[in-house]
Protein backbone atom coordinates (compact mmCIF):
# COMPACT_ATOMS: atom_id res chain seq x y z
CA UNK A 1 0.00 0.00 0.00
CA UNK A 2 2.94 2.34 0.68
CA UNK A 3 4.08 1.91 -2.89
CA UNK A 4 0.59 2.80 -4.05
CA UNK A 5 0.56 6.01 -2.03
CA UNK A 6 3.93 6.75 -3.53
CA UNK A 7 2.54 6.13 -7.01
CA UNK A 8 -0.73 7.97 -6.61
CA UNK A 9 0.43 10.98 -4.61
CA UNK A 10 -2.00 13.84 -3.97
CA UNK A 11 -0.24 16.02 -6.54
CA UNK A 12 -0.65 13.33 -9.17
CA UNK A 13 -4.31 12.75 -8.38
CA UNK A 14 -4.85 16.50 -8.49
CA UNK A 15 -3.27 16.87 -11.92
CA UNK A 16 -5.34 13.91 -13.12
CA UNK A 17 -8.55 15.62 -12.02
CA UNK A 18 -7.66 19.21 -12.77
CA UNK A 19 -5.62 18.95 -15.90
CA UNK A 20 -3.43 21.96 -16.71
CA UNK A 21 -3.13 23.13 -20.32
CA UNK A 22 -5.69 20.58 -21.42
CA UNK A 23 -6.71 22.13 -24.71
CA UNK A 24 -5.99 22.19 -28.43
CA UNK A 25 -3.83 24.86 -29.96
CA UNK A 26 -5.00 25.96 -33.40
CA UNK A 27 -2.28 25.86 -36.03
CA UNK A 28 0.51 24.90 -33.65
CA UNK A 29 4.15 25.01 -34.73
CA UNK A 30 4.47 21.41 -33.66
CA UNK A 31 2.06 18.57 -33.06
CA UNK A 32 2.33 14.85 -32.40
CA UNK A 33 0.03 11.99 -31.50
CA UNK A 34 1.17 9.43 -28.95
CA UNK A 35 -0.28 5.99 -28.26
CA UNK A 36 0.39 3.41 -25.58
CA UNK A 37 -1.25 0.33 -27.08
CA UNK A 38 -0.94 -1.65 -23.85
CA UNK A 39 -3.53 0.36 -21.97
CA UNK A 40 -5.08 2.52 -24.66
CA UNK A 41 -3.50 5.80 -23.54
CA UNK A 42 -3.72 8.29 -26.41
CA UNK A 43 -2.61 11.86 -26.22
CA UNK A 44 -1.97 14.74 -28.57
CA UNK A 45 0.68 17.31 -27.75
CA UNK A 46 0.59 20.83 -29.25
CA UNK A 47 3.57 23.12 -29.19
CA UNK A 48 4.37 26.74 -30.08
CA UNK A 49 7.93 28.03 -30.07
CA UNK A 50 9.06 31.62 -30.03
CA UNK A 51 12.78 32.43 -30.51
CA UNK A 52 13.74 28.91 -29.49
CA UNK A 53 11.64 29.05 -26.32
CA UNK A 54 8.53 26.99 -25.53
CA UNK A 55 5.92 29.75 -25.69
CA UNK A 56 2.95 27.45 -25.29
CA UNK A 57 2.46 23.73 -24.88
CA UNK A 58 -0.77 21.83 -24.32
CA UNK A 59 -2.30 18.38 -24.61
CA UNK A 60 -5.57 16.55 -25.04
CA UNK A 61 -6.75 12.99 -25.43
CA UNK A 62 -7.32 10.40 -22.75
CA UNK A 63 -5.20 8.17 -20.65
CA UNK A 64 -4.77 6.65 -17.22
CA UNK A 65 -4.05 8.81 -14.18
CA UNK A 66 -0.29 8.39 -14.53
CA UNK A 67 -0.34 9.32 -18.20
CA UNK A 68 -2.70 12.25 -17.74
CA UNK A 69 -1.00 13.78 -14.71
CA UNK A 70 2.43 13.32 -16.26
CA UNK A 71 1.22 15.16 -19.37
CA UNK A 72 -0.32 17.92 -17.27
CA UNK A 73 2.81 18.37 -15.17
CA UNK A 74 4.97 18.28 -18.26
CA UNK A 75 3.18 21.22 -19.84
CA UNK A 76 3.68 23.26 -16.67
CA UNK A 77 7.35 22.33 -16.44
CA UNK A 78 8.09 23.08 -20.10
CA UNK A 79 6.59 26.50 -20.52
CA UNK A 80 9.30 29.12 -20.87
CA UNK A 81 12.10 26.60 -21.31
CA UNK A 82 14.51 26.82 -24.22
CA UNK A 83 14.54 23.93 -26.65
CA UNK A 84 17.83 22.71 -25.20
CA UNK A 85 16.57 22.91 -21.61
CA UNK A 86 13.36 21.14 -22.56
CA UNK A 87 15.29 18.32 -24.15
CA UNK A 88 17.61 18.04 -21.16
CA UNK A 89 14.60 17.83 -18.86
CA UNK A 90 13.06 15.08 -21.01
CA UNK A 91 16.24 13.06 -20.89
CA UNK A 92 16.69 13.53 -17.16
CA UNK A 93 13.09 12.55 -16.49
CA UNK A 94 13.48 9.49 -18.68
CA UNK A 95 16.64 8.46 -16.85
CA UNK A 96 14.98 8.88 -13.46
CA UNK A 97 12.22 6.45 -14.44
CA UNK A 98 14.12 3.90 -16.43
CA UNK A 99 17.78 3.85 -15.53
CA UNK A 100 19.60 2.73 -12.40
CA UNK A 101 22.91 4.20 -13.57
CA UNK A 102 23.71 7.73 -12.38
CA UNK A 103 23.76 10.38 -15.09
CA UNK A 104 25.85 13.30 -13.81
CA UNK A 105 24.68 15.52 -16.67
CA UNK A 106 21.01 15.24 -15.55
CA UNK A 107 19.21 18.39 -14.47
CA UNK A 108 17.02 18.63 -11.33
CA UNK A 109 13.46 17.49 -11.92
CA UNK A 110 11.80 19.86 -9.46
CA UNK A 111 8.09 19.11 -9.11
CA UNK A 112 8.36 16.22 -11.56
CA UNK A 113 10.08 14.25 -8.81
CA UNK A 114 6.70 13.04 -7.53
CA UNK A 115 6.43 10.89 -10.64
CA UNK A 116 9.58 8.91 -9.92
CA UNK A 117 7.56 6.48 -7.75
CA UNK A 118 6.43 4.99 -11.04
CA UNK A 119 9.82 3.32 -11.28
CA UNK A 120 8.57 0.72 -8.78
CA UNK A 121 5.80 -0.20 -11.26
CA UNK A 122 7.67 -1.13 -14.43
CA UNK A 123 4.55 -1.77 -16.50
CA UNK A 124 3.44 1.80 -15.80
CA UNK A 125 6.64 3.58 -16.84
CA UNK A 126 5.39 3.94 -20.41
CA UNK A 127 2.29 5.72 -19.10
CA UNK A 128 4.49 8.34 -17.41
CA UNK A 129 6.81 8.86 -20.36
CA UNK A 130 4.22 8.87 -23.16
CA UNK A 131 3.57 12.64 -23.02
CA UNK A 132 7.28 13.35 -23.05
CA UNK A 133 7.96 11.12 -26.02
CA UNK A 134 5.07 12.80 -27.79
CA UNK A 135 6.43 16.24 -26.95
CA UNK A 136 9.84 15.16 -28.18
CA UNK A 137 8.30 14.00 -31.46
CA UNK A 138 6.47 17.33 -31.88
CA UNK A 139 9.67 19.25 -31.20
CA UNK A 140 11.71 17.09 -33.58
CA UNK A 141 9.14 17.70 -36.31
CA UNK A 142 9.65 21.45 -35.98
CA UNK A 143 13.41 21.05 -35.91
CA UNK A 144 13.19 18.74 -38.91
CA UNK A 145 11.12 21.23 -40.84
CA UNK A 146 13.49 24.05 -39.97
CA UNK A 147 16.60 22.11 -40.89
CA UNK A 148 15.20 21.10 -44.27
CA UNK A 149 14.22 24.62 -45.19
Amino acid sequence: MDNLRELYQEVILDHNKNKRNYRKIDNPDGFAHGVNPLCGDQIDVYLNLRDGVVADVSFDGHGCAICTSSASMMTVALKGKTEADAQALFESFHHALTDDEPHPEDVPLGKLNVLTGVKEFPVRVKCATLAWHTFDAALKKIQGEISTE
Binding site: N16, C39, G40, A65
Partner: protein, 410 residues
Protein backbone atom coordinates in the same frame (compact mmCIF):
# COMPACT_ATOMS: atom_id res chain seq x y z
CA UNK B 1 -29.01 -32.64 -4.11
CA UNK B 2 -28.17 -30.67 -7.22
CA UNK B 3 -24.81 -30.16 -8.85
CA UNK B 4 -24.16 -26.82 -7.23
CA UNK B 5 -24.57 -28.20 -3.72
CA UNK B 6 -22.14 -31.02 -4.46
CA UNK B 7 -19.60 -28.70 -5.99
CA UNK B 8 -16.57 -28.72 -3.70
CA UNK B 9 -14.65 -25.63 -4.67
CA UNK B 10 -12.19 -26.02 -1.77
CA UNK B 11 -11.01 -29.41 -2.93
CA UNK B 12 -10.71 -28.10 -6.48
CA UNK B 13 -8.63 -25.18 -5.22
CA UNK B 14 -6.33 -27.60 -3.45
CA UNK B 15 -5.49 -29.13 -6.82
CA UNK B 16 -4.14 -25.82 -8.11
CA UNK B 17 -0.79 -25.12 -6.40
CA UNK B 18 -0.57 -21.51 -7.57
CA UNK B 19 -3.78 -20.55 -5.76
CA UNK B 20 -1.86 -20.73 -2.48
CA UNK B 21 0.46 -17.92 -3.58
CA UNK B 22 0.53 -14.50 -1.99
CA UNK B 23 0.76 -11.40 -4.19
CA UNK B 24 2.01 -8.20 -2.50
CA UNK B 25 1.36 -9.98 0.80
CA UNK B 26 -2.28 -10.75 -0.03
CA UNK B 27 -3.82 -14.07 -1.01
CA UNK B 28 -3.96 -14.32 -4.79
CA UNK B 29 -7.43 -13.70 -6.24
CA UNK B 30 -6.98 -14.86 -9.81
CA UNK B 31 -9.63 -13.34 -12.05
CA UNK B 32 -7.73 -13.26 -15.32
CA UNK B 33 -8.80 -16.66 -16.54
CA UNK B 34 -9.98 -15.47 -19.94
CA UNK B 35 -6.39 -14.50 -20.70
CA UNK B 36 -5.01 -17.79 -19.40
CA UNK B 37 -6.16 -20.16 -16.69
CA UNK B 38 -4.06 -21.89 -14.03
CA UNK B 39 -3.02 -25.53 -13.89
CA UNK B 40 -4.05 -28.33 -11.57
CA UNK B 41 -1.36 -30.65 -10.19
CA UNK B 42 -2.75 -33.36 -12.46
CA UNK B 43 -1.64 -31.38 -15.53
CA UNK B 44 1.69 -30.37 -14.05
CA UNK B 45 2.37 -33.98 -13.03
CA UNK B 46 1.43 -35.37 -16.43
CA UNK B 47 4.07 -33.15 -18.01
CA UNK B 48 6.58 -33.88 -15.26
CA UNK B 49 6.07 -37.63 -15.58
CA UNK B 50 6.44 -37.45 -19.33
CA UNK B 51 9.78 -35.71 -19.08
CA UNK B 52 10.96 -37.84 -16.16
CA UNK B 53 10.06 -41.26 -17.51
CA UNK B 54 8.24 -41.33 -20.80
CA UNK B 55 9.65 -38.76 -23.19
CA UNK B 56 10.87 -39.26 -26.71
CA UNK B 57 10.06 -38.00 -30.17
CA UNK B 58 6.92 -39.55 -31.61
CA UNK B 59 5.85 -41.33 -34.79
CA UNK B 60 9.47 -42.11 -35.62
CA UNK B 61 11.31 -44.51 -33.41
CA UNK B 62 10.91 -48.24 -33.04
CA UNK B 63 12.26 -48.03 -29.52
CA UNK B 64 10.04 -48.35 -26.47
CA UNK B 65 10.07 -44.73 -25.32
CA UNK B 66 9.07 -43.47 -28.73
CA UNK B 67 6.19 -45.93 -28.81
CA UNK B 68 5.08 -44.86 -25.33
CA UNK B 69 5.26 -41.16 -26.14
CA UNK B 70 3.41 -41.70 -29.41
CA UNK B 71 0.69 -43.54 -27.56
CA UNK B 72 0.36 -40.80 -24.95
CA UNK B 73 0.21 -38.13 -27.67
CA UNK B 74 -2.45 -40.01 -29.63
CA UNK B 75 -4.39 -40.71 -26.42
CA UNK B 76 -4.54 -36.96 -25.88
CA UNK B 77 -6.02 -36.59 -29.35
CA UNK B 78 -8.63 -39.20 -28.46
CA UNK B 79 -9.45 -37.28 -25.28
CA UNK B 80 -9.97 -34.10 -27.31
CA UNK B 81 -12.22 -35.97 -29.72
CA UNK B 82 -14.41 -37.19 -26.88
CA UNK B 83 -14.45 -33.76 -25.26
CA UNK B 84 -15.93 -31.99 -28.28
CA UNK B 85 -17.75 -35.10 -29.56
CA UNK B 86 -16.11 -35.18 -32.97
CA UNK B 87 -17.04 -38.11 -35.17
CA UNK B 88 -13.52 -39.40 -35.67
CA UNK B 89 -10.10 -38.92 -34.26
CA UNK B 90 -8.41 -37.73 -37.44
CA UNK B 91 -10.66 -34.68 -37.46
CA UNK B 92 -8.62 -33.38 -34.51
CA UNK B 93 -5.55 -31.40 -35.62
CA UNK B 94 -3.13 -30.22 -32.97
CA UNK B 95 -1.95 -26.65 -33.52
CA UNK B 96 -0.14 -24.11 -31.35
CA UNK B 97 -3.42 -22.47 -30.39
CA UNK B 98 -6.59 -20.80 -31.59
CA UNK B 99 -4.61 -18.27 -33.55
CA UNK B 100 -2.80 -20.90 -35.58
CA UNK B 101 -5.99 -22.91 -36.05
CA UNK B 102 -7.73 -19.92 -37.61
CA UNK B 103 -4.74 -19.03 -39.75
CA UNK B 104 -4.61 -22.62 -40.97
CA UNK B 105 -8.20 -22.42 -42.18
CA UNK B 106 -7.65 -18.97 -43.69
CA UNK B 107 -4.59 -20.05 -45.67
CA UNK B 108 -5.40 -23.64 -46.42
CA UNK B 109 -9.15 -23.60 -46.85
CA UNK B 110 -10.10 -20.04 -47.79
CA UNK B 111 -7.13 -18.84 -49.80
CA UNK B 112 -7.28 -21.40 -52.62
CA UNK B 113 -11.04 -20.93 -52.86
CA UNK B 114 -11.53 -17.17 -52.73
CA UNK B 115 -11.61 -14.84 -55.65
CA UNK B 116 -12.55 -11.23 -56.24
CA UNK B 117 -16.19 -10.60 -55.39
CA UNK B 118 -16.32 -13.32 -52.72
CA UNK B 119 -16.99 -12.44 -49.12
CA UNK B 120 -16.00 -13.64 -45.65
CA UNK B 121 -18.46 -12.83 -42.90
CA UNK B 122 -17.26 -12.16 -39.34
CA UNK B 123 -18.76 -10.15 -36.47
CA UNK B 124 -17.98 -6.90 -34.69
CA UNK B 125 -17.12 -8.71 -31.46
CA UNK B 126 -14.32 -10.94 -32.75
CA UNK B 127 -10.91 -11.25 -31.15
CA UNK B 128 -8.13 -9.85 -33.38
CA UNK B 129 -7.12 -13.42 -34.15
CA UNK B 130 -10.49 -13.97 -35.81
CA UNK B 131 -10.18 -10.72 -37.78
CA UNK B 132 -6.61 -10.33 -39.01
CA UNK B 133 -6.20 -13.77 -40.68
CA UNK B 134 -9.30 -12.97 -42.77
CA UNK B 135 -8.04 -9.50 -43.63
CA UNK B 136 -4.80 -11.09 -44.79
CA UNK B 137 -6.53 -13.65 -46.97
CA UNK B 138 -8.83 -10.95 -48.40
CA UNK B 139 -5.75 -8.92 -49.26
CA UNK B 140 -4.24 -11.97 -50.94
CA UNK B 141 -7.31 -12.88 -52.98
CA UNK B 142 -9.31 -9.71 -53.54
CA UNK B 143 -12.21 -11.04 -51.48
CA UNK B 144 -14.04 -8.75 -49.11
CA UNK B 145 -14.53 -8.87 -45.34
CA UNK B 146 -18.07 -8.20 -44.10
CA UNK B 147 -18.88 -7.54 -40.46
CA UNK B 148 -22.09 -8.32 -38.58
CA UNK B 149 -22.88 -5.41 -36.22
CA UNK B 150 -23.65 -5.69 -32.50
CA UNK B 151 -26.19 -4.00 -30.22
CA UNK B 152 -25.70 -1.83 -27.14
CA UNK B 153 -26.15 -4.89 -24.97
CA UNK B 154 -23.33 -6.59 -26.82
CA UNK B 155 -25.42 -9.06 -28.78
CA UNK B 156 -25.14 -9.90 -32.46
CA UNK B 157 -27.70 -8.28 -34.74
CA UNK B 158 -29.04 -11.48 -36.23
CA UNK B 159 -31.27 -9.62 -38.69
CA UNK B 160 -28.19 -7.99 -40.15
CA UNK B 161 -26.47 -11.34 -40.19
CA UNK B 162 -29.16 -12.82 -42.39
CA UNK B 163 -29.03 -9.77 -44.66
CA UNK B 164 -25.26 -9.94 -45.03
CA UNK B 165 -25.29 -13.66 -45.62
CA UNK B 166 -25.62 -14.21 -49.36
CA UNK B 167 -24.40 -16.21 -52.33
CA UNK B 168 -21.12 -14.22 -52.28
CA UNK B 169 -20.38 -15.43 -48.73
CA UNK B 170 -17.77 -18.19 -48.80
CA UNK B 171 -17.23 -18.60 -45.06
CA UNK B 172 -18.67 -17.40 -41.76
CA UNK B 173 -16.20 -17.04 -38.87
CA UNK B 174 -17.75 -16.33 -35.50
CA UNK B 175 -16.76 -16.45 -31.85
CA UNK B 176 -18.71 -18.81 -29.61
CA UNK B 177 -18.13 -16.61 -26.54
CA UNK B 178 -16.78 -13.05 -26.71
CA UNK B 179 -13.61 -12.49 -24.69
CA UNK B 180 -14.33 -8.78 -24.30
CA UNK B 181 -18.05 -8.91 -23.47
CA UNK B 182 -18.78 -12.43 -22.28
CA UNK B 183 -21.61 -12.76 -24.79
CA UNK B 184 -22.54 -16.32 -25.72
CA UNK B 185 -23.49 -16.20 -29.38
CA UNK B 186 -26.35 -18.31 -30.78
CA UNK B 187 -23.96 -20.28 -32.94
CA UNK B 188 -26.36 -23.15 -33.57
CA UNK B 189 -28.77 -20.71 -35.23
CA UNK B 190 -25.94 -19.01 -37.07
CA UNK B 191 -24.67 -22.33 -38.41
CA UNK B 192 -28.16 -23.37 -39.50
CA UNK B 193 -28.71 -20.08 -41.30
CA UNK B 194 -25.33 -20.30 -43.03
CA UNK B 195 -25.81 -23.92 -44.02
CA UNK B 196 -29.15 -23.08 -45.56
CA UNK B 197 -27.05 -21.21 -48.14
CA UNK B 198 -24.31 -23.87 -48.16
CA UNK B 199 -21.88 -21.57 -46.42
CA UNK B 200 -19.42 -23.30 -44.05
CA UNK B 201 -18.84 -21.94 -40.56
CA UNK B 202 -15.72 -21.66 -38.42
CA UNK B 203 -16.34 -21.22 -34.69
CA UNK B 204 -13.69 -19.58 -32.51
CA UNK B 205 -14.26 -21.51 -29.31
CA UNK B 206 -11.29 -20.15 -27.31
CA UNK B 207 -13.55 -18.66 -24.62
CA UNK B 208 -16.26 -21.29 -24.84
CA UNK B 209 -14.65 -24.67 -24.15
CA UNK B 210 -13.79 -23.89 -20.50
CA UNK B 211 -17.40 -22.93 -19.75
CA UNK B 212 -19.83 -24.63 -22.13
CA UNK B 213 -20.15 -28.28 -23.18
CA UNK B 214 -19.45 -28.39 -26.92
CA UNK B 215 -20.72 -31.00 -29.34
CA UNK B 216 -19.39 -30.27 -32.81
CA UNK B 217 -21.68 -32.84 -34.41
CA UNK B 218 -24.84 -31.36 -32.87
CA UNK B 219 -23.65 -27.89 -33.81
CA UNK B 220 -22.71 -29.18 -37.25
CA UNK B 221 -19.96 -26.55 -37.44
CA UNK B 222 -17.37 -27.08 -40.15
CA UNK B 223 -14.40 -25.90 -38.09
CA UNK B 224 -13.98 -25.36 -34.36
CA UNK B 225 -10.84 -23.78 -32.89
CA UNK B 226 -9.60 -23.51 -29.31
CA UNK B 227 -6.49 -23.15 -27.13
CA UNK B 228 -5.16 -25.35 -24.33
CA UNK B 229 -4.03 -22.53 -22.06
CA UNK B 230 -7.53 -21.19 -21.42
CA UNK B 231 -8.66 -24.71 -20.52
CA UNK B 232 -6.29 -25.38 -17.59
CA UNK B 233 -3.73 -26.80 -20.02
CA UNK B 234 -0.32 -25.61 -21.22
CA UNK B 235 0.48 -22.81 -23.65
CA UNK B 236 1.60 -23.56 -27.18
CA UNK B 237 -1.02 -26.22 -27.80
CA UNK B 238 -4.41 -25.85 -29.39
CA UNK B 239 -6.89 -27.64 -31.55
CA UNK B 240 -8.47 -27.30 -34.93
CA UNK B 241 -11.46 -29.51 -35.44
CA UNK B 242 -12.57 -29.82 -39.04
CA UNK B 243 -15.04 -32.05 -40.81
CA UNK B 244 -13.21 -34.89 -42.48
CA UNK B 245 -14.60 -34.27 -45.95
CA UNK B 246 -13.39 -30.66 -45.78
CA UNK B 247 -10.00 -31.25 -44.17
CA UNK B 248 -9.18 -34.03 -46.59
CA UNK B 249 -9.55 -31.68 -49.56
CA UNK B 250 -7.42 -28.93 -48.06
CA UNK B 251 -3.73 -28.61 -49.00
CA UNK B 252 -1.18 -28.72 -46.15
CA UNK B 253 -0.55 -25.50 -44.26
CA UNK B 254 3.11 -26.04 -43.47
CA UNK B 255 5.66 -28.26 -45.16
CA UNK B 256 8.11 -30.49 -43.37
CA UNK B 257 8.56 -33.82 -41.70
CA UNK B 258 5.66 -35.98 -40.55
CA UNK B 259 3.20 -34.43 -42.96
CA UNK B 260 4.34 -36.57 -45.88
CA UNK B 261 4.17 -40.17 -46.93
CA UNK B 262 7.07 -40.00 -49.32
CA UNK B 263 9.27 -37.26 -50.66
CA UNK B 264 11.23 -37.20 -53.83
CA UNK B 265 12.32 -34.04 -55.58
CA UNK B 266 9.72 -34.63 -58.25
CA UNK B 267 6.70 -35.24 -56.07
CA UNK B 268 5.72 -35.43 -52.45
CA UNK B 269 2.81 -37.48 -51.31
CA UNK B 270 1.02 -36.00 -48.34
CA UNK B 271 0.28 -37.95 -45.23
CA UNK B 272 -3.22 -38.83 -44.06
CA UNK B 273 -5.31 -36.67 -41.76
CA UNK B 274 -4.53 -35.19 -39.31
CA UNK B 275 -0.76 -35.57 -39.87
CA UNK B 276 -0.97 -33.66 -43.13
CA UNK B 277 -1.45 -30.55 -40.96
CA UNK B 278 1.10 -31.40 -38.28
CA UNK B 279 4.43 -30.83 -40.01
CA UNK B 280 7.50 -30.98 -37.83
CA UNK B 281 7.91 -32.34 -34.32
CA UNK B 282 4.75 -31.26 -32.56
CA UNK B 283 4.24 -29.95 -29.03
CA UNK B 284 4.26 -33.42 -27.47
CA UNK B 285 4.21 -32.35 -23.83
CA UNK B 286 1.64 -29.69 -24.63
CA UNK B 287 -0.75 -32.18 -26.16
CA UNK B 288 -0.32 -34.59 -23.26
CA UNK B 289 -0.84 -31.73 -20.78
CA UNK B 290 -3.98 -30.68 -22.63
CA UNK B 291 -5.25 -34.25 -22.51
CA UNK B 292 -4.70 -34.28 -18.73
CA UNK B 293 -6.48 -30.92 -18.40
CA UNK B 294 -9.51 -32.15 -20.32
CA UNK B 295 -9.66 -35.29 -18.19
CA UNK B 296 -9.54 -33.11 -15.09
CA UNK B 297 -12.42 -30.99 -16.39
CA UNK B 298 -14.39 -34.10 -17.33
CA UNK B 299 -13.92 -35.58 -13.86
CA UNK B 300 -15.50 -32.55 -12.26
CA UNK B 301 -18.02 -32.23 -15.04
CA UNK B 302 -18.44 -29.27 -17.35
CA UNK B 303 -22.11 -29.04 -16.38
CA UNK B 304 -21.22 -28.59 -12.71
CA UNK B 305 -18.44 -26.13 -13.60
CA UNK B 306 -20.80 -24.11 -15.77
CA UNK B 307 -23.40 -23.97 -12.99
CA UNK B 308 -20.81 -22.80 -10.45
CA UNK B 309 -19.42 -20.18 -12.82
CA UNK B 310 -22.89 -18.98 -13.67
CA UNK B 311 -23.49 -18.42 -9.96
CA UNK B 312 -20.26 -16.42 -9.75
CA UNK B 313 -21.21 -14.37 -12.79
CA UNK B 314 -24.64 -13.50 -11.41
CA UNK B 315 -23.21 -12.67 -8.01
CA UNK B 316 -20.44 -10.51 -9.49
CA UNK B 317 -22.87 -8.75 -11.81
CA UNK B 318 -25.25 -7.85 -9.00
CA UNK B 319 -22.40 -6.77 -6.70
CA UNK B 320 -20.75 -4.60 -9.34
CA UNK B 321 -24.07 -3.05 -10.35
CA UNK B 322 -24.36 -1.67 -6.82
CA UNK B 323 -21.15 0.32 -7.24
CA UNK B 324 -21.77 3.97 -8.10
CA UNK B 325 -20.11 5.10 -11.31
CA UNK B 326 -19.44 1.55 -12.51
CA UNK B 327 -20.70 0.60 -15.95
CA UNK B 328 -20.75 -2.99 -17.12
CA UNK B 329 -19.75 -3.34 -20.78
CA UNK B 330 -21.65 -6.22 -22.31
CA UNK B 331 -25.06 -7.06 -20.89
CA UNK B 332 -26.17 -9.81 -23.19
CA UNK B 333 -28.96 -12.13 -22.14
CA UNK B 334 -26.60 -15.10 -22.48
CA UNK B 335 -23.19 -14.58 -20.95
CA UNK B 336 -20.41 -16.82 -19.73
CA UNK B 337 -17.40 -16.46 -17.56
CA UNK B 338 -16.63 -12.77 -17.30
CA UNK B 339 -17.59 -9.20 -16.47
CA UNK B 340 -16.07 -6.27 -18.35
CA UNK B 341 -16.50 -2.86 -16.74
CA UNK B 342 -15.38 0.76 -16.63
CA UNK B 343 -15.47 3.36 -13.86
CA UNK B 344 -16.45 7.01 -14.35
CA UNK B 345 -13.57 8.28 -12.25
CA UNK B 346 -10.80 5.80 -12.80
CA UNK B 347 -9.06 4.62 -15.96
CA UNK B 348 -8.86 0.81 -16.34
CA UNK B 349 -5.07 0.91 -16.21
CA UNK B 350 -5.21 2.47 -12.75
CA UNK B 351 -7.88 -0.01 -11.65
CA UNK B 352 -5.53 -2.81 -12.68
CA UNK B 353 -2.63 -1.48 -10.62
CA UNK B 354 -4.82 -0.76 -7.58
CA UNK B 355 -6.37 -4.24 -7.64
CA UNK B 356 -3.00 -5.87 -8.16
CA UNK B 357 -1.80 -4.38 -4.89
CA UNK B 358 -4.77 -6.11 -3.22
CA UNK B 359 -3.71 -9.43 -4.75
CA UNK B 360 -6.51 -9.29 -7.32
CA UNK B 361 -5.37 -10.17 -10.84
CA UNK B 362 -7.63 -8.84 -13.59
CA UNK B 363 -6.98 -7.83 -17.17
CA UNK B 364 -7.17 -4.25 -18.34
CA UNK B 365 -6.88 -2.99 -21.87
CA UNK B 366 -8.60 -3.58 -25.17
CA UNK B 367 -8.49 -7.39 -24.86
CA UNK B 368 -7.40 -7.72 -28.50
CA UNK B 369 -10.89 -6.60 -29.48
CA UNK B 370 -10.38 -2.97 -30.48
CA UNK B 371 -13.53 -2.84 -32.63
CA UNK B 372 -15.55 -3.68 -29.49
CA UNK B 373 -13.85 -0.86 -27.58
CA UNK B 374 -14.62 1.55 -30.40
CA UNK B 375 -18.25 0.49 -30.48
CA UNK B 376 -18.70 1.17 -26.76
CA UNK B 377 -16.55 4.32 -27.02
CA UNK B 378 -14.15 3.29 -24.29
CA UNK B 379 -10.35 3.19 -24.67
CA UNK B 380 -10.17 0.05 -22.58
CA UNK B 381 -12.06 -1.93 -19.97
CA UNK B 382 -11.25 -3.80 -16.80
CA UNK B 383 -12.23 -7.46 -17.02
CA UNK B 384 -12.75 -9.99 -14.26
CA UNK B 385 -13.02 -13.50 -15.69
CA UNK B 386 -13.90 -16.63 -13.78
CA UNK B 387 -12.82 -20.23 -13.63
CA UNK B 388 -13.96 -23.36 -11.85
CA UNK B 389 -11.83 -22.54 -8.79
CA UNK B 390 -13.07 -19.03 -8.08
CA UNK B 391 -15.21 -18.38 -5.01
CA UNK B 392 -17.94 -16.01 -3.94
CA UNK B 393 -15.57 -14.63 -1.29
CA UNK B 394 -13.17 -13.69 -4.07
CA UNK B 395 -15.93 -11.68 -5.74
CA UNK B 396 -16.38 -9.87 -2.42
CA UNK B 397 -12.65 -9.03 -2.42
CA UNK B 398 -12.99 -7.79 -6.00
CA UNK B 399 -15.90 -5.51 -5.12
CA UNK B 400 -14.15 -4.18 -1.99
CA UNK B 401 -10.99 -3.45 -3.97
CA UNK B 402 -12.98 -1.56 -6.58
CA UNK B 403 -14.62 0.49 -3.84
CA UNK B 404 -11.23 1.24 -2.31
CA UNK B 405 -9.98 2.32 -5.72
CA UNK B 406 -12.88 4.69 -6.18
CA UNK B 407 -12.30 6.07 -2.69
CA UNK B 408 -8.70 6.84 -3.49
CA UNK B 409 -9.47 8.60 -6.76
CA UNK B 410 -12.43 10.74 -5.69
Amino acid sequence: MNNVAQYDVESIRNDFPILGEKIHGRPLVYLDNAASSQHPAQVINAIKELYESGYSNIHRGVHQLSQDATKAYENARATVRGFIHADCIHEIVFTSGTTESINLVAQSYARPLLKKGDEILITHMEHHSNIVPWQMVCEQTGAELKVVPISDRGELELDCFSELLCERTKLVAVGHVSNALGTVNPIKRIIDMAHALNVPVLVDGAQAVPHIPVNVQDLDCDFYAFSGHKLYGPTGIGVLYGKENILSKMPPYKGGGDMILSVSFEKTEYNALPYKFEAGTPNIAGAIGLGAAIEYVQNIGLGAIAAHEHGLLEYATSKLRQIDGLRIIGEAEQKAGLVSFVLDQVHPHDIGTMLDMEGVAIRTGHHCAQPVMEYFKVPATARASFAMYNTFEEIDVLAESINKTIGMFS
